[in-house]
């Protein structure tokens, strides 16, 4: 695996983590206001 391939792989991992954390942040905030479980139902 070349250095560039490794960097792109890291970038993909970062994108996935950021997307999950973004959705999770909204869910946590809404759950704090209204109640709700962290997982289950709508994806995250």
């Amino acid at each position: 695996m070349t250095l560039m391939q490794k960097r792109i792989l890291i970038l993909l991992v970062i994108i996935i983590i950021a997307a999950i954390l973004g959705r999770l942040t909204v869910r946590i905030f809404m759950n704090l206001l209204l109640g709700g479980s962290l997982f289950g139902g709508n994806f995250l």
């Binding site: 950021a18 942040t25 909204v26 209204l34 479980s37 139902g41």
Partner: protein, 311 residues
């Protein structure tokens, strides 16, 4: 350089993800419309009483060829202290697009200017508005001969009260009710989320404010309590003749305690009232984590509207 790219990409994707999560609900688009004047006409702020808040909006469909129409009233949320009929414009437009006359009603909110307002006084204002809505519909050329009433949260409570307590005297025959997360009972033991099991005085105050009656700590444990809260407890008015109901509650609801919903369900069951109940297992008061069940709820609402109000 690559460190900067990683951080930038993280932040950009994080923000986009938040925006998408808040705004993108693909399954729910069937229950809203892109409104334009070809669909109908909206008349706003029609008075029905002397208080400033005594106003309603009415949405009439473009098709004015029918002899009679079904009316759907949708009451706004806001914990009895905030909110406005315009909050439900999307829902009212959607109902109107289906051929119904739709109405959103404002009621006097409990705030600093109106410390006497209560769930009871609000429910009486809703009752007061109905002849005016019937009259206005007729005046506009859309006579209504049957109705459904609905709402969310506080609006759900007021809808249930009208459906079960006031339907017998309604100028427009009530055929069904549908609502989301509206408290239908005020048994103090269900309201532990508010710390009322630890502070009886707080409980007495809360239920005094809700009912508009002076409820004391002693009363809460006595038989008198049920009488004092009866006028605001929709589930206490259910009988064999109560209207078909579609109801939904969130298991994690902190605002309308989930335990309070069981009284409503039991009353519907015991009195053989046709009903459909949707439980949102991952959601709180906003029913926000179970879109699939919300879609099922709306499908059922459509089915009930077709069956009880017609097209």
């Amino acid at each position: 350089m690559w460190g900067f790219i990683y951080v930038s990409v993280f932040l950009i994707v994080f923000v986009i993800s938040i925006i998408v999560k808040i705004s993108y609900h693909p399954g729910l688009k069937d229950y809203s419309v892109k409104w334009d004047s070809s669909m109908g006409t909206i008349y706003t702020d029609i008075p029905y009483g002397e208080n400033n808040a005594n106003r309603f909006d009415i949405y009439v469909p473009a098709d004015n060829t029918k002899k009679t129409y079904g009316l759907v009233v949708y009451l706004h949320a806001g914990g009895f202290t905030t909110g406005d009929k315009s909050d439900d414009a999307e829902m009212l437009k959607w109902l109107c697009s289906k051929g119904y006359v739709a109405a959103g009603i404002n009621y006097t909110l409990r705030d600093e200017k109106h410390p006497q307002a209560s769930v009871y006084s609000q429910s009486m204002e809703i009752k007061q508005s109905m002849p005016y809505i019937a009259e206005k519909s007729k005046e506009l050329g859309y006579p209504v001969d049957k109705m459904a009433i609905s709402g969310g949260s506080a609006g759900g409570t007021l809808a249930l009260l009208y459906a079960y307590r006031d339907a017998d005297t309604s100028p427009i025959p009530v055929k069904m009710v549908f609502e989301l997360a509206g408290p239908a009972s005020f048994h103090h033991e269900d309201w532990k989320n508010y710390g009322l099991d630890q502070n009886e005085e707080a409980a007495a105050n809360l239920f005094s404010i809700m009912s508009g009656n002076n409820i004391t700590v002693d009363m809460i444990e006595s038989d008198d309590y049920d009488n004092e809260i009866r006028d605001i407890s929709a589930c206490m008015w259910i009988n064999n003749n109560s209207v078909p109901s579609v109801i939904a509650y969130g298991v994690y609801d902190k605002i309308c305690p989930f335990d309070s919903s069981r009284h409503l369900i039991n009353a519907l069951k015991e009195n053989n009232v046709p009903y459909d109940y949707f439980e949102f297992p991952h959601s709180g008061h906003g029913l926000q984590n179970d879109d699939k069940i919300y879609i099922q709820y709306m499908e059922k609402v459509c089915e009930y509207l077709d069956r009880y109000l017609g097209r």
